[in-house]
């Protein structure tokens, strides 16, 4: 009786775990993967052959947070059409609280694409990525060439969500 009860309990337990996992394990797998600039370049090179959209962001960047859902939406729209999406955070790698905030944010957004963290000091990240701030969106063609570096570096030509849509649509149409 006791033994049977224990078996029943363990079956119930595993059903419960499976049920819970189907709800949250996917989002729990969402994490930040630290990469040095060199590793980042290797990651990018490994994606050659696909259109790649890189969302550069940070938790301290209000417009990045506001625009992130649009990136997730674009990902869902294009993920089965040969377009790869990744995010690259330039948060302070030494600020554990900021990194936890970033992870929670990505899970909440259900950002199931690869999410990287620049494992360099922030100033170096800006220099090496050749950026002045975020949000920035880089779009690469299948040959691995960066065709769009959408940024906010000109007051009269700051990029919009539509610019991202158009860039992706143009590269998809080229294929």
């Amino acid at each position: 009786m006791w033994r049977g009860g224990r078996t029943g309990a363990s079956i119930l337990c595993s059903i419960l775990v499976t049920a819970l996992c189907s709800l949250s394990c996917g989002s729990r797998a969402i994490d930040l993967r630290p990469v040095t600039f060199q590793q980042w370049q290797r990651e990018l090179a490994s994606l050659k052959g696909k259109i790649v959209v890189v969302d550069l962001w940070a938790t301290w960047c209000v417009p990045c947070i506001e625009r992130f859902p649009h990136m997730v939406q674009l990902y869902n729209q294009y993920k089965d059409r040969g377009v790869t999406f990744v995010s690259l955070s330039v948060d302070d790698r030494e600020d554990k609280q900021a990194l936890e905030t970033a992870r929670q944010f990505l899970r909440k957004q259900n950002a199931t694409f690869p999410n990287y963290l620049m494992n360099e000091n922030i100033s170096q990240s800006f220099e090496k990525l050749d950026i002045e701030g975020v949000p920035d969106v880089f779009v690469y063609d299948p040959a691995g060439r960066r065709r769009y570096a959408l940024n906010g570096n000109d007051p009269n030509r700051q990029f919009t969500e539509k610019d991202v849509d158009d860039a992706v649509a143009r590269l998809v149409a080229e294929r």
Partner: protein, 214 residues
Amino acid sequence: MKQRFRAIVGITIAFAFLTSATLVYGGKFNSTINIGMQAPVFTNLPATDGKSYSMSDFKEDVLVLVFLADHCPWVKGGEPDLIKLAADYKGKSVRFVGIAINLREEDTLPAMKVRVQQAGYNFLYVHDASQEIGRKYGATHTPEYFVLDKNRRIIYTGLLTNSPALLEGRAPRYTNGPPSQFYVRDAVDAATAGKMPAVTETRPQGCTLEYTSR
């Protein structure tokens, strides 16, 4: 004939020198201004002290303009060093002016007044709701500095130091170790001495200013 040849050589050398100077001082990170050019002016911008100011109101030899946004952790991180710098030049012919152009509620005058009190700003802080002054300077990030000499030429633009500080949590953290190059201070000292600073432009780094699209 010889004289004419010499004149031509002289003009060519002078031209080459001027051209190279222009190239050296070109706006590497700024889409709008170049080092050495006459600084764009602003008129009647409301300040947190309740008055309005024009650039012509400032008679000091050196003018330091810094684009700020109160919500920005890079602005908050850099505040202590900015305040200290302004204090160091108190009583000298150097004027510091903070400029905000964002239209978010947390970056406009009512919030700016609170920030001035909370952080203890010891410099003038104006807001430009038209954003025109930001466009004229090509300012796109905060904090972004512009140092103007006595003739109101732009002699420096970019970062305060080579290690901008970020405030997320309790204390600002330098992002590139303890600062070892003090660009704005050097530019102010150079301007005071009637010279150009050794470094005239650095990559701005921080929050992106948000312009309304046209």
